[in-house]
């Protein structure tokens, strides 16, 4: 992974975006140029800032709250927010702020792992289909079509019910159901990059197929892969919340934003105890929104056609 990300820093870029002026005579790598363009996009910067705060809050959860994640105070059940419990307590008397902070760890990491998993699957299948073509392409694309043809949530719920609900199964299910978009994208990119003269030139210098795919083609396709994976990460967080809300995802006592929402299935909770569902709901909303903002910002920064 670190090798993969290191490639990102001297990243992509279809030639078009690289016409940026360079006045202080320093070598501008494509990565630096993209960062420069990304930084200029205020909305995307706000998105990344919010996302960063959410991540820091999740990481610092044990420091930020004095309570244990699963510690129950049975005498203080369903307490509204107070100075002692800033967001109140849930039905088992657990501190909700603590639950929400720890829940962020679970929800964000499910999003990250699931979207990385789909990226790996999508990139491998897509590049095989795009590079080798012929029957392999047909086979992979038909499998992709089949996965797309299934109603997503129905399949996710069925799979969760069959495999048994757990955090790892949730990651796997989401990863294995969302790779199709990346796969098609990578295939398309590879089909066009394959025709580029620098690929022919790489072959003429004696590079082998693995080297051509990994070193010469993939970095050139990285921009759209990153954009779509970012957006899919937002989807993954939403799907995790949906599955957990239905009791088919992350299981209590492990908190996730989705399963903290679970009590809101009851009308009484929904109407009278806003503190049980509003904070996790808001965090799902804000995290998905900020990830989408970052994704859109990345697209603007990486796509030469959207220049200014």
């Amino acid at each position: 992974m670190s090798r993969f990300m290191s490639r990102f820093t001297r990243n992509p870029a279809k030639t078009g975006i690289l016409n940026e002026t360079n006045n202080n005579d320093e070598v501008l790598s494509p990565g630096k140029i993209i960062w420069k363009r990304f930084r200029r996009n205020k909305i995307a910067m706000i998105g990344s800032f919010i996302l960063l705060i959410l991540i820091i809050l999740a990481i610092l959860a044990p420091v930020l709250t004095p309570y244990e994640r699963d510690a129950m105070e049975l005498q203080n059940r369903e307490e509204p927010p107070s100075s002692e419990h800033l967001l109140g307590t849930d039905r088992q008397g657990r501190d909700l702020l603590t639950r929400v902070l720890y829940g962020g760890r679970i929800s964000l990491s499910v999003g990250l792992v699931a979207s990385s998993l789909q990226m790996v699957i999508g990139v491998i299948l897509g590049s095989l289909a795009g590079y080798y073509g012929k029957w392999l392409d047909t086979l992979i694309m038909r499998i992709t079509d089949m996965v797309i043809a299934f109603p997503f949530l129905a399949l996710a719920i069925t799979a969760a019910a069959v495999l048994g609900p757990s955090i790892y199964n949730t990651m796997l299910i989401i990863g294995f159901l969302t790779w199709t978009e990346t796969c098609r994208l990578v295939r398309g990119q590879f089909l066009s990059i394959k025709q580029m003269e620098y690929i022919e030139a790489a072959k003429a210098t004696g590079a082998n197929e693995f080297r051509i795919i990994w070193h010469h083609m993939l970095p050139n396709a990285l921009a759209p892969i990153l954009i779509s994976s970012t957006l899919i990460m937002a989807t993954a967080i939403l799907v995790e919340a949906a599955l957990s809300y239905l009791g088919l995802g992350v299981q209590a006592p492990m908190p996730s934003w989705g399963n903290i929402l679970e009590p809101a299935r009851s009308m009484i909770v929904l109407m009278n105890m806003w503190w049980l569902w509003l904070p996790p709901g808001f965090l799902i909303f804000i995290s998905v929104l900020s990830i989408n903002l970052v994704g859109d910002g990345l697209r603007d920064a990486l796509d030469p056609r959207l220049k200014n």
Partner: protein, 328 residues
């Protein structure tokens, strides 16, 4: 001088949905050590495909067949793909037409130069970096050390082509295929690049196969010329003879259609007609529909090669006894 490259009856065809498209139709030629050979012809006559076939870079749906492709005595067709890869870039190098797109935009010039060097010469990072900078200096790039860490987008077309040449020559290949290396450049840069290539050829002692449709460039660059038309070699001679005394009607047409600085002309004289559709080749000699001296036999049979003088081959019925008889 012995032969470095021997090609005998090379056929390359592409199996497309509309049928089999023959791109190269049985060409044979030899290349001596240190010689530079030009291949001239119209677009689509199979110049580039012939060279790519020799390097075995023709992918699906292309098909290459030949009686013999020997480099320095080694039959290339018998080599495994792995062995072939180790020869590409090392023994044979290719310079492409389009310098703007033949460098990978996501890597620095240095990275791309080092790639070939590390792949074939087993040098470590430091040595290959040293060698790359040396190569960049050799092809006349100023501030070579800085350019080493720059990305292709910050170089001009001429600079990129120089970098490409540095890449191609970094392993001191036996043969350099140059596929219209100056077509995309403006005239002054073109002259510089050609001069550079001539100079480097002498220094490294590489044989060059120079593909071009520009007779002016060819006459500057090479010792011997092959003229191709529709995938066959129609004339093969040294460059002086070709310009002064071309024999094949097509070559004569080509030379006449070139603007000349010493003769005042209202109009150029193009060759009438156009290149036939490769899916629907004329019978016999592919040039006969456009040929002014076409005879009966030209419609029926592909002419054989006739050596009309030492080292001057022409593929035309006009020079055979049979053709001569029919004419008389």
């Amino acid at each position: 001088m012995s032969d470095l490259l021997q090609v005998k009856n090379l056929y390359t065809s592409f199996n497309t949905e509309d049928g089999v498209v023959p791109a190269v139709n049985g060409i044979s030629f030899n290349l001596k050590h240190g010689e530079s050979l030009g291949i001239v012809g119209e677009s689509g006559c199979g110049k580039s495909v012939a060279c790519l076939s020799i390097m075995r870079l023709i992918g699906h749906p292309g098909k290459v067949e030949a009686d013999e492709i020997k480099l320095d005595g080694t039959e290339l067709q018998a080599l495994s793909e792995k062995k072939m890869r180790s020869m590409r870039g090392n023994d044979m190098a290719f310079i492409f037409q389009e310098p703007m797109t033949s460098l990978n935009p996501v890597y620095t010039i240095g990275f791309q130069l080092q790639e070939a060097i590390q792949l074939h010469q087993g040098l470590n990072k430091e040595q290959s970096q040293h060698k790359s900078i040396e190569m960049l200096e050799m092809v006349g790039i100023p501030r070579a050390e800085k350019v080493f860490s720059e990305y292709p987008h910050s170089l001009s077309g001429g600079m990129r082509q120089r970098a490409m040449i540095a890449m191609a020559l970094s392993c001191e290949p036996k043969i350099l295929f140059a596929d219209e290396p100056t077509t995309a450049l403006d005239v002054t840069i073109q002259a510089q690049i050609l001069e550079l290539m001539t100079d480097l050829r002498q220094r490294i002692n590489t044989s060059i196969i120079f593909i071009s449709h520009d007779l002016g460039v060819i006459s500057e660059m090479v010792d011997r010329v092959i003229v191709m038309y529709c995938g066959i070699i129609i004339e093969d001679t040294d460059v002086r003879t070709l310009i002064k005394n071309p024999r094949h009607p097509y070559t004569i047409g080509l030379i006449n259609s070139k603007p000349r600085i010493d003769v005042e002309l209202e109009r150029l004289e193009p060759i009438s007609g156009s290149v036939p559709n490769p899916l629907n080749m004329p019978s016999g000699c592919p040039y006969h529909p456009r040929c002014e001296s076409a005879m009966e036999i030209c419609r029926e049979k592909l002419p054989e090669n006739h050596e009309i003088k030492d080292g001057h081959r022409v593929c035309c019925w006009l020079f055979s006894e049979l053709g001569g008889k029919i004419k008389s």
